[in-house]
Symmetry: C2
Subunit: 211 residues, 2 copies
């Protein structure tokens, strides 16, 4: 049963790092799945690098643990096939996602989903490099945006500070990976495979779990 979200609908924060592989299938389905439950998605871009470093890790667990990393690539390929998504492994992993995250922060909430999906589709659907100014500018132009103006805003001191603040928000919520879902009452769910659990919780279903 589909109930279109309204301003009174529960809100679920969708925290996503553009370098994260599992965030690609999550980004492609999160808004559709939320709409079906009458939940609004708040798109929250952030960087995982500073969080990994603060926890004493030099990189993604998929880089630190090669065996786990090898299985991750196969698993993401399977998940994309299952979800009907194209998947091409990019030459570089993880990519530098600083600019993409800053640009998303400059967009209003109702334009963030389309931008994020376009970035993930380019990165993991086409296997392209999304780290450079040219790639992001071309993507914005294809979507009818004023790329020069948006990139200038993305590189302003205000946006840089806003992205650092988002990272502090993420850490304060206990976030340690991407994608993560956080409900209005602060419940944290990690991983593409927890979206349905997070939507249950956002809708008030605690499955009888005591607080």
């Amino acid at each position: 049963m589909s109930k279109s979200p309204t301003s009174k609908s529960p809100v679920l924060e969708f925290w996503h790092e553009f370098a994260s592989t599992y965030s690609y299938p999550a980004a492609m389905r999160v808004e559709r799945a939320a709409r079906a439950r009458g939940v609004r998605i708040a798109w929250r871009p952030f960087l995982l690098g500073p969080i990994f470093k603060a926890q004493g890790f030099s990189s993604s667990p998929f880089v630190v643990n090669e065996t786990k990393g090898a299985n991750m690539w196969r698993d993401v390929a399977r998940i994309c096939a299952r979800d009907g998504l194209r998947f091409v492994r990019p030459a570089v992993f993880p990519q530098n996602t600083l600019l993409a995250a800053r640009v998303e922060l400059c967009l209003p909430q109702d334009q963030r989903g389309a931008f994020a999906r376009a970035v993930y589709a380019l990165e993991y659907g086409d296997g392209a490099d999304i780290s450079g100014r040219e790639a992001i500018a071309a993507l914005l132009s294809r979507h009818g945006k004023d790329a020069d103006a948006l990139l200038a805003q993305a590189e302003s001191a205000e946006t840089k500070a806003a992205l650092r603040a988002a990272g502090e928000d993420a850490a304060a919520r206990g976030i340690f990976g991407s994608p993560s879902f956080v409900t209005a009452d602060g419940e944290l769910f990690w991983g593409n495979d927890r979206l349905e659990h997070a939507l249950d919780w956002a809708c008030g279903d605690r499955w009888g779990l005591e607080a």
Copy 2:
């Protein structure tokens, strides 16, 4: 549609370490879910410790990364609530599971599921210590087994060698965590949340993925 598995049914290996939290809800549902798809489960107990050590890690990722570990306990509590399973966090994590794994290896396949479910229910349903000889002996006696004979067999040189060989089998399959599912053609799926994917694959559904 339920199709009872026969000797000609596809087989899915269920690799499980008794210390693993997510292996508890997996063990409680794996046989029911497999039966509904006409798949037979091969119960494969193993130890993760030697695999972590060979990969250069001192312990479980949930111990190494405290933030991730804290969320794991909450997540497992939620999953158990969602699945209708009791859950009590044991005082010690991870527990020493050497004896439990050796005992399961001594049982024929058609008795392993009941034993494994009883161990997991004691450990994570009751929050009990399952590392000691007394706990395992009492559990075996409650299930009508000759505990003394089984424990003697579990502690024989033959069983010790068989468990070491199982660990080598696990490593050869690329296993790096528990639970893991491996199909007859060697496809490896990691995690309770991948059981449905593994059953699809075991039944021949590759979702259009090229080999």
